[in-house]
């Protein structure tokens, strides 16, 4: 061994080594160029590559809260009784029509026929019963179990008809059944959906190179209008700069939630790309621990609302993209009421309210910030604005897991910034055990009335009252609706501009010059 090593070094003269190094480098370069030219020419018009910042942990939307799961499988792989359309409305899906009893307690769904799961098993009412019963079972791991708790029983009438009986009226039940968490799965494949999802949708799961991409292919046996694309690839690019490079280089055709807003103007100026600024269901708020001193005093909470300049936050944290909100409600929703005028930016009034509450000399508090850039950037700006009225908010950066245990589960926080991305989620303010520590019988009454109402006009009135209630109570400081910043190839059509539910619905996507 010793001799061999010595021999080797004696033979390898310095000049020889240089030559070897040069040969290696040259070889790599030519190999790269040759294969590069070969692959650059291939751009099949019936496939698409979608960029996403976060990779889904698994692909079972009924057993996880990660938005990335729905962003891959919603409407593409899995389908529910109903679904959400691009404008946020509830559309028929596997249930083609339904009858609702006069008291709003019994829903009879008429199902599509001739539907098969991707593994070939026929779909029927029994699968609906299985899926809903599984989601509401005691050992259910469904992240949105509250959607299913009002269900009293699910009965199969015949293979194409299913009857769902509720224990109390839920005005929004059809919307609830359109969530990704309520998709219909099959008994024989449900256990493996996390790694091998079997749905009824227009795309089938094909391949997953973890950490890099997921491939879907067109389902040739789809029961409805078949997808126009033969193949879709979701590519995971976490770093904003890398996302920019990937779109610019043409590695991805679309980045529907583009993470680098500072570079959008570059894409807007380039005719190869289209920049689409839309809305999401993400109410970004500075949450206040209503149960903790001094924030149990409504004057202090109102003072915080007056102290914050939303426009400055949007400009500084989101490069100007984002709509200010005055309550916990999406401006894209038909029931939206503009309450941004309730607490205009008024530092003098904030100071007066703080003085009246006994904090004329200022107060010290903490502001816990989770990792997303909207939270970290907004936090810096807001801390500065609060300082101007005498509130010294010490910033504490936390990881998501830590945020979930400290802030969300143990409610150990004063202030925090987070975006609530679930659609139509104002109901969380009626939950006693929620991390805001907000307890209002008046608000709960409104929500109870809302649940018992299916009449559209009456629902809108109640939703408006609910928005006003929490704005008046200054439960949280309502900042802005998270924008949906999309960049895609100008020849690509059919992607959603807005995001009424977290999804990348590819069923209507196609290429056209």
């Amino acid at each position: 061994m010793r001799v061999a090593a010595g021999e080797m070094w004696r033979r390898m003269r310095p000049r020889g080594l240089v030559a070897v190094a040069a040969a290696v480098v040259a070889g790599l370069a030519t190999a790269a160029v040759v294969t590069g030219l070969a692959t650059a020419a291939v751009a099949a018009p019936d496939s698409v590559t979608i960029g996403m910042q976060l990779e889904p942990p698994n692909l079972d939307p009924t057993a996880g809260a990660a938005a990335a799961i729905d962003e891959v499988v919603y409407a593409n792989v899995f389908e529910g009784l109903t679904r959400i359309g691009p404008d946020g409305s509830v559309l028929p899906d596997l249930a083609r029509s339904w009858d609702i009893s006069a008291d709003g307690l019994v829903y009879t769904f008429h199902l599509a026929t001739g539907v098969r799961f991707h593994d070939g098993t026929p779909f029927g009412a029994a699968d609906v019963k299985f899926s809903l019963d599984r989601a509401r079972a005691p050992d259910s791991a469904n992240a949105q179990k509250q959607l299913f708790t009002p269900i009293a029983s699910v009965d199969v009438i015949d293979p194409a008809t299913v009857r769902v009986t509720l224990s109390r009226a839920v005005g929004n039940f059809l919307f609830d059944m359109a969530w990704g968490d309520a998709v219909i799965v099959a008994p024989q494949s449900a256990a493996h959906d996390a790694t091998d999802p079997i749905g009824t949708g227009p795309f089938k799961f094909a391949d997953w190179v973890r950490g890099d991409h997921i491939d879907l292919v067109r389902n040739p046996d789809y029961w409805g209008t078949p997808a126009k694309l033969a193949r879709a690839t979701f590519k995971f690019i976490a770093d904003p700069t890398a996302a920019f490079a990937a779109v610019m280089a043409g590695d991805v055709d679309a980045f529907p939630n583009f993470p680098a807003p500072e570079t959008l103007s570059q894409f807007a100026a380039d005719p190869r790309f289209r920049v689409v600024v839309g809305s999401t269901e993400g109410e970004t708020i500075m949450a206040i621990n209503n149960g903790r001193k001094p924030f149990d005093d409504i004057r202090v909470r109102r003072a915080l609302s007056y102290a914050v300049d939303r426009q400055a936050v949007i400009k500084g944290a989101e490069f100007g993209y984002g709509t200010p909100i005055g309550s916990h409600f999406s401006p894209a929703d038909p029931g939206y009421v503009d309450l941004t005028g309730v607490y205009p930016h008024d530092p003098a009034k904030a100071k007066a309210l703080l003085a009246a509450a006994g904090y004329g000399d200022g107060l010290h508090t903490t502001l816990k910030l989770p990792p997303p850039s909207y939270a970290r950037r907004s936090g810096e700006i807001i801390a500065d604005q609060l300082k101007a009225v005498g509130v010294d908010a010490e910033i504490i950066n936390v990881e998501w897991a830590q945020w979930l245990s400290d802030v969300f589960a143990n409610r150990d926080y004063d202030l925090t910034i987070v975006s609530h991305t679930e659609p139509a989620d104002i109901g969380i303010y009626a939950r006693n055990d929620y991390y805001f520590n907000y307890h209002s019988d008046a608000f709960r009454k409104i929500m109870a009335a809302l649940d018992a109402t299916t009449d559209a006009a009456r629902r809108l009135a109640l939703l408006a009252a609910a928005q006003r209630r929490i704005a008046d109570d200054a439960v949280n400081v309502f900042l802005f609706e998270l924008p949906k910043l999309g960049v895609w190839n100008a020849k690509l059509h059919g992607l959603w501009a807005n995001e009424p539910i977290q999804a990348n619905d590819l069923t209507g996507v196609y290429w056209q010059d």
Partner: protein, 316 residues
């Protein structure tokens, strides 16, 4: 030699056992509940309890430790909490990216760094020495993520020779996969090559002044022969140690480069697993990396002992 190797091997095993205990305990005290992370903002308490039970998080500490260690011998490292696939499969897939990338980068670094260092030492204070030293200074000073971005800008966005990143997988074809690793390997190799060149030069310059070099010349060897037969071999011991360290670093420490090129490597796997509290993945990958470092160090010790017999005697 054999006694030396056996001793080193025993200390290798002891280090591994100690590391496994420390890693396991650190993961236990880390705040944050994987089940809470997976279920998000609307999770009900009984749902959390159900998921914790499913994941086996409600079992006693000792049971979980021994189950984990036993897993290393059977190859069953458990199921990832978030991905829901076997950890061994997950790690193996990432190794197929990280290992070739590390080897490519190291090969490049050695192929460029060592000859450059030898040339610089042999022509000390002449133009080629100054040029090599200037370039290596640049190579060390430039942050490699920035250099990586320049590479992307030039070769992906500008010339379209390469894709901006990503890894198609080896099943997409050997050349296609290899091509995806070229830019990252160059970005990783630049600082390492610079370090090796400077180290090689310094070590060689030192040995050139040793008495035995004069003796070698005195017994009739030419300057070049003396350098090749005696100086390079003596200077190689510190260089080998550093190459060992560099390999361990490249295997796990490429995370920044992996991010720039969005490569599914080990570095990103561990980063992602930590933020998602996928602790079963974290502890297995960390232990594997510790094992890799210890084994590489072991190999370097043996190689150094082979190159320089004095090292063996000293230990005995």
């Amino acid at each position: 030699m054999w006694l030396f190797a056996a001793r080193r091997f025993v200390s290798l095993l002891a280090t591994l056992v100690a590391a496994s205990v420390v890693i396991f305990l650190v993961m236990e005290v880390l705040p944050g509940d994987p089940a809470a992370y997976m279920l998000g903002l609307n999770a009900a308490p009984d749902t959390l309890a159900a998921l914790r039970h499913q994941l086996g998080l409600d079992q006693p500490l000792l049971v979980r430790y021994f189950a984990w260690v036993a897993g290393f011998f059977t190859g069953d490292l458990g199921i990832s909490y978030t991905y829901r696939v076997p950890v061994a499969q997950l790690v193996a897939a990432r190794l197929w990216v990280s290992l070739p990338l590390a080897l490519m980068a190291l090969a490049l670094a050695i192929a460029i760094g060592l000859p450059a260092g030898i040339v610089a030492a042999a022509r000390r204070n002449r133009a080629s020495d100054i040029a090599v030293m200037g370039l290596t200074q640049f190579g060390i000073a430039v942050p490699n993520f920035w250099f990586a971005m320049l590479l992307v800008l030039a070769f992906a966005i500008g010339l379209h020779w390469f894709s901006a990143g990503g890894f198609p997988g080896w099943h997409a074809g050997f050349l296609v996969a290899l091509k995806a690793l070229v830019l990252p390997a160059i970005a990783l190799a630049l600082p390492q090559a610079s370090i090796l060149a400077r180290l090689m030069r310094a070590a060689l310059v030192e040995t050139l002044g040793e008495d035995f070099m004069r003796t070698a010349r005195a017994k009739g060897l030419s300057a070049g022969q003396a350098v090749r037969r005696h100086a390079v071999r003596n200077a190689l011991v510190p260089v080998l140690t550093v190459i060992g360290l560099q390999f361990s670093f490249l295997l796990a420490g490429a995370i920044i480069i992996e991010n720039v090129f969005f490569l599914p490597g080990l570095g990103r796997l561990i980063f992602q697993a930590i933020t998602q509290r996928d602790l079963i993945v974290v502890k297995s990958v960390v232990l594997l990396l510790v094992a890799a470092v210890i084994i590489v160090t072991f190999a370097v010790d043996l190689a150094s002992a082979a190159v320089d017999p004095r090292l063996r005697r000293r230990v005995r």
